[in-house]
Amino acid sequence: MIDDYLAELLAHLRLPDGKRRRIVAEVEDHLACAAADLHTEGLDPEQAEREAVLRFGPSDALARTFLEHEAARAGRRAGWAGATLAFVTAVLMIGAPGSAVFRGDFPLGVLAFVLGQVALIAGALTLARAWVGSTEGGLRGPRLTLVLRGTLVVLGCALIGLLFGAARSLASGHWRATHWLPLAALMLASAPTLEAHLRARCHAQALGVPARPGADLSELLALALDRIAAPRAVALASFPRRHPWRFAAGVSIVAGVALAVGHGLSEGGVPVHHVLRALDAGAIIACVEALAALLGFAVLGRYLGLRSDIR
């Protein structure tokens, strides 16, 4: 009876071999102890084994619980690794003055700038979901799907950046430190993210996580507002769910203006009249950034769980 149960459990456990062996050994010890105690209490050996197995619970449910915990752990690790990669990608493609391989005129420079921004947004969402999931007793269901999607988008941005940088470096004909160092950093940060993503995806597929996870932006905003801002502001968090396109347009305009102001600060310095003058001159920058952000929302909004694909 115990042997049959252990064989069933082993068949249901879709985990690495070392973990499976450890679980089965622990369960075997438990069932043997329980059966021995029940036998001492007066049951015959067969009845004792049957009762011990009955009290232990169904093997498929136990295997599923183990798998859920493993998927949650792998998902959380993928989320953190994805967020780290997003940060590295954004710094290299947008901010780091030493990464000349990603600098250039239109369209090359713009491509790196866009990839950096997309990675940063996907990474921030992934980090928020991984964090919220772990504080709520485990990353599971739709939230796990969205973490995997976010990680995949970040990996995609990093991969395109790698290909684009390598091609550009090869075309230039020389390998300077400002070329190979950023590419090496991107590869180093991508490897653990890819490994964690594949592991988490494997567990998630075995569990059958939702393929259409919906959107959770309003929920994330509500949690953030509740913890870091006035509780009264929490009602505002439902706005993205009720009016996703108005929200996207608003955020796009703010992003455009912020970029133009940033441009103004870098060109003209801190005094307000300099910033305003640069902002005036940067109207085109603001419009392009706002349109790009809106386009990003249209293309990736559903996939990243910013707007719902379930009506």
Partner: protein, 106 residues
């Protein structure tokens, strides 16, 4: 008490049981039953995923030992686990006092 009822408190209960000293899985279940006067009668297998998760979170550590010729995994509390148990116990006490006040006033 059904397994569902103690689901949200299982981690704290396991930490409290393991805090008594190094213990293997079967003894965890036995201690849980004994200390609850037999009220916490959940499917025994449910403690193992929770023990593994607590170990993964760094609140427990475990090692193989041999007793009566049988290999068994023994769990014990880490320093972080002890601190977490203190936090959860305090939080539970505050909650229980509040519930008691509300129910007592009814």
């Amino acid at each position: 008490m059904a397994g569902e009822d103690i689901k949200g408190h299982l981690d704290a209960l396991l930490l409290a049981v393991v805090a008594d000293g190094p213990v293997h899985g079967y003894a965890v279940v036995e201690r849980l039953k004994a200390r609850s006067g037999g009220r916490f009668d959940l499917p025994e297998g449910t403690v193992y995923p929770a023990l593994h998760r607590l170990e993964g979170d760094g609140l427990l550590r475990s090692q193989w030992t041999v007793a009566n010729g049988r290999r068994r995994r023994q769990y014990e509390l880490t320093v972080r686990g002890r601190a977490e148990l203190g936090t959860r116990t305090e939080s539970w006490r505050r909650f229980a006092i509040a519930v008691e006040r509300v129910l007592g006033a009814a």
